[in-house]
Symmetry: C2
Subunit: 199 residues, 2 copies
């Protein structure tokens, strides 16, 4: 199973690395997470140079495709070469976005007639593209989902984990990143229910 | 004002990039956030090659120094060259750690006689170093603080923001990353109380 996170220059750091870290907590040999872009490297909104794992067309054969957010989104929704690289199909793939990444889903025609959420600063533009924008952290319409507000990344990644690997695996991965005493306890590891990898 | 995040090979991605992204949401000309290491680049626990912004000794002149976590910590607490690079002083600096990074604080003698928290898999080792480990997401003892469980990064970074820039700035930055409808609303931006930068 393969999950692709789509990045570009000026991506919001936390939206990519939160999903990336969480999705990488799955310990199965047939599980692969990759960050894809149209260049070998992309520079984040804060200037972090990040190597991609592959080109955009690999998204088309992925089980789940998750679009990042950030200032760069507004350039990508006008970039025909970028948009034309995708041949996504909600019938056979899970497709999602973080924050302003919903604008890319809309540009790809994936939000037609659907409800969606986005970062507050992208609300009006997304509405102008014909999408019914709602003030919710996570909106699912069949196999297309949008999440908004950085910490909602756990809802988006959790949805992908649950759909592809089941509720138990999703719950296990999400527990690993909760604050100690607020969802994660010392006893969770004593019981060997969780991986013993250090963090 | 200067905040340094300390990284090393096999660091936990989310613990570095969560603090990095959040602390970079401050929009002041005299505010600088940097990731420091003992090499030009370090490779995260998931294999992400990350460029450092400077060498470890820059931590000694920083207003706040935050240690990352990860599998690499266990090597660094036995690495005298790494430990000797630090000349930190809680009298003039805020010093903190995420998850297993508390082991480095202990190795530096900064947790003597103090309460602290850490990731569950590091609890016993931290206790063996003479620290009273408590099951809490964030523990502050004067100018030394420990946070545990990845999402507790917001408590650690929020503490630094509040101490250095005041409660209002800390609250503003933390609001920007909350899920829409769960701490962040569309109206927050209409009121121009928050920056209009896209996410």
């Amino acid at each position: 199973m393969k999950v692709s996170i789509i990045a570009f220059d000026d991506f919001t750091d936390i939206d990519v690395f939160f999903m990336w870290d969480l999705l990488n907590r799955v310990e199965r040999p047939d599980w692969k997470v990759q960050i894809l872009g149209d260049q070998c490297c992309h520079v984040s909104a804060t200037g972090m140079r990040t190597h991609m794992h592959g080109r955009l067309d690999e998204a088309n054969s992925s089980d789940a495709v998750l679009f990042a957010s950030g200032k760069g989104v507004r350039r990508k929704i006008k970039d025909d070469v970028f948009l034309d690289a995708f041949n996504l199909d909600p019938e056979r793939q899970l497709i999602g976005s973080m924050c302003s990444g919903a604008l890319i889903l809309a540009a790809l025609g994936l939000l037609e007639g659907k409800r969606a959420t986005t970062y507050p600063t992208s609300k009006k533009l997304l509405e102008s593209m014909g999408v019914k924008v709602v003030e919710e952290p996570f909106v699912r319409e069949g196999n297309v989902a949008t999440a908004a507000g950085c910490l909602a990344a756990q809802y988006l990644a959790g949805w992908v984990l649950e759909e592809l690997l089941g509720a138990e695996e999703s719950k296990r991965a999400l527990k690993l990143i909760q604050p100690v005493g607020e969802g994660l306890s010392f006893a969770d590891f004593d019981a060997k229910q969780l991986s013993a990898s250090a963090s």
